[in-house]
Symmetry: C2
Subunit: 348 residues, 2 copies
């Protein structure tokens, strides 16, 4: 009998944040690909696009006009998935037909008036302004009685359903704690109750000691490929000190956070020398007025690319029905990312 | 105050099979779409393609040659995600770094020697042959001691990561029960213990009484849009009598199952008059040698399209970080699907 080698043999890993397993198939990395290829997006955009509904001074799809802004700009999404209206609810369903009204606010956060930029192409100071806005928005929304969770995220690239290349992200603030956040909270809570430390304090300590999945770090943050990552180049930024949410960040921490964002997204762009698509978002404590000593600020990056700017990983079939599956191991991905420069390929 | 209307107001629905919530935003269906469009795939393929590695008599990527087959043909996947080898495991990890070796068998099931076909274009008798093969494979694989779950599925269309348009599906048989099947089993089990009936017996009875989410039905099966569906045109086929797995199907049931597969996939093709992409797969009892009175055979269809053959729903950002979100309601989708003909648009 051969003995098990995690670099060669199929195995399952346990995701401690979601209480789920994933399947890792390292031997499968070399299969030929004859499937769909993505179109790569045009790299040179103008600084101002008269047809862009996010550019400064332009008219949006609903007829409103953006102010002539410089830097960041926040507005309520014209086609939000939530409504802020308080509706009366005479119980509409039960048993198999259980539903509950959901109330909330959807905002769009433009990162810059410059249509041509993306986070890795912005300066650390400029990214720090975005972090400031996230903190302000979190504070403003969390103060509202009916808002119990604030989801800050960015969809980057048309392959990630982003319909406008203007640098921007979104905030969905709502009355319920969404399913995956709730799951994470359950895991964090049971760990904290048992160990009196947050799950991510202990996890990060062990990851830093192991070293092999760390991508980049600075004084206040580390970026790593989680041991249980499902996307080929999935990463997570974790605060080195336990912070329940972004409201607790000091000026120095906000600057460090901006710096790690710049480094990580630059590494991503350098991987395939393309503007690297992803969905990224912050997980932090709910704003439900309860104590949350179990929470520990982190940000997930879920990038879809697998082998090149054209070939993505398809999470379909087995993955939709059974469980997430990956080919290249998290340790291999981290080694590749860690060895890439933090100077953007366009600036070389 | 306005009173709540599930056709107009955002709400959350509870998924009884996965113990998860989804967000429904009916008011959002009309937002403009400026994002990525899919290329529609060429509709007229030859009956034989000399470059196809699944066609009868052709050479595959690994150098093996397919026999000259007619009808269905099954072989072991040349680049499977699992290996059937039994490896020795000296505990490689624990705590945050928990992993376990996984053993299994990956097979490819060609549905026909005819390269140009898809399920909806095959006759019921021909689809019945595919169902026969699924049953045989299930019996053969479940008899193996180290195989505890058999996942039968199909990825259809290049948008669903299918790298070859030749009509085929896959079977992944493995030693563990995969994450989503385990979750489903937990839900089925706790329901069965409480009610002495399967969750899906009771659910289907209530859906048939309600009528509004039923798409099509015959003597032995019903196809419906689940009350908690997350994909715009997601459906589920459920056996009217409780069957733990496909091994329990009679000849008459296999024929009925083939008929409902033909009707549902034809309706799908007729929706946008395109070869409709999806990932579909069967959920049934594990083959772990235990009693599974809680299980009830069903098949999920997860199609990505939203508005047309070119515009899909992106499950990104909020959906990857928070919870699944849909615009059009399950009742609207079911009404649209139910009113489509079961004669294929190409045959009109
Ligand atoms: O096995 P295939 O068809 O080459 O690959 C396809 O289906 C698999 C199982 O759903 C997925 O893991 C792959 O990402 C997908 O491209
Ligand atoms: O809100 P947008 O950018 O129009 O839409 C995009 O992001 C949303 C939130 O992640 C998703 O629900 C949509 O499917 C996606 O296309």
């Amino acid at each position: 009998n051969t003995s098990f080698d995690r670099k060669k043999h199929p195995h399952r890993r346990y995701n401690h944040l979601l209480d789920e397993w994933i399947l890792v198939s390292p031997q499968r990395a070399n299969r030929p690909w004859q499937g769909q290829r993505e179109e790569t997006t045009e790299e040179n955009r103008p600084e101002y696009d008269p047809d862009c509904y996010l550019c400064s001074g332009n008219i949006r799809a609903n007829g409103d006009r953006n102010p002539v802004y410089k830097g960041t700009y926040v507005f309520n999404n014209d086609f939000g998935a939530l409504l802020n209206e308080d509706v009366e609810f005479a119980n509409e369903g039960s048993g198999f037909f259980t539903l509950l009204p959901e109330r909330g606010i959807n905002r769009v956060v433009c990162f810059s008036e410059n249509h041509s930029l993306t986070l890795p192409e912005m300066s650390v100071e400029h990214i720090k302004n975005v972090v400031d806005v996230w903190q302000e928005q979190f504070n403003e929304l969390s103060a509202l009685d009916h808002i119990n969770y604030v989801q800050i995220f960015e969809n980057k690239g048309s392959i990630m359903g982003c319909s406008n290349p203007h640098p921007h992200g979104q905030i969905w603030a709502q009355s319920s704690i969404p399913a995956m956040v709730q799951k994470t909270q359950d895991q964090l809570k049971s760990y904290f109750e048992k160990n009196k430390r947050t799950l991510l304090e202990d996890y990060l300590e062990q990851e830093i000691a192991a070293g092999e999945r760390i991508v980049t770090e600075n004084e206040h943050f580390a970026a790593l490929v989680p041991f249980w990552a499902s996307w080929p180049y999935e990463t997570m930024i974790i605060s080195k000190q336990k912070r329940e949410n972004i409201a607790a960040f000091s000026e120095a921490e906000k600057k460090s956070f901006a710096a790690v964002l710049k480094d990580l997204t630059t590494i991503y762009d350098n991987l395939f020398e393309t503007s690297f698509p992803y969905s990224a978002g912050i997980h932090q404590s709910p704003t439900d007025g309860k104590e949350h000593p179990e929470w520990h600020f982190h940000m997930h990056f879920y990038p879809p690319l697998l082998r090149s700017a054209e070939v993505k990983k398809f999470m379909v079939g087995y993955e939709m029905l059974a469980e997430p599956q990956r080919d290249i191991t998290p340790e291999q991905s981290a080694a590749i990312l860690r060895n890439l420069p933090t100077i953007h390929y366009k600036k070389k």
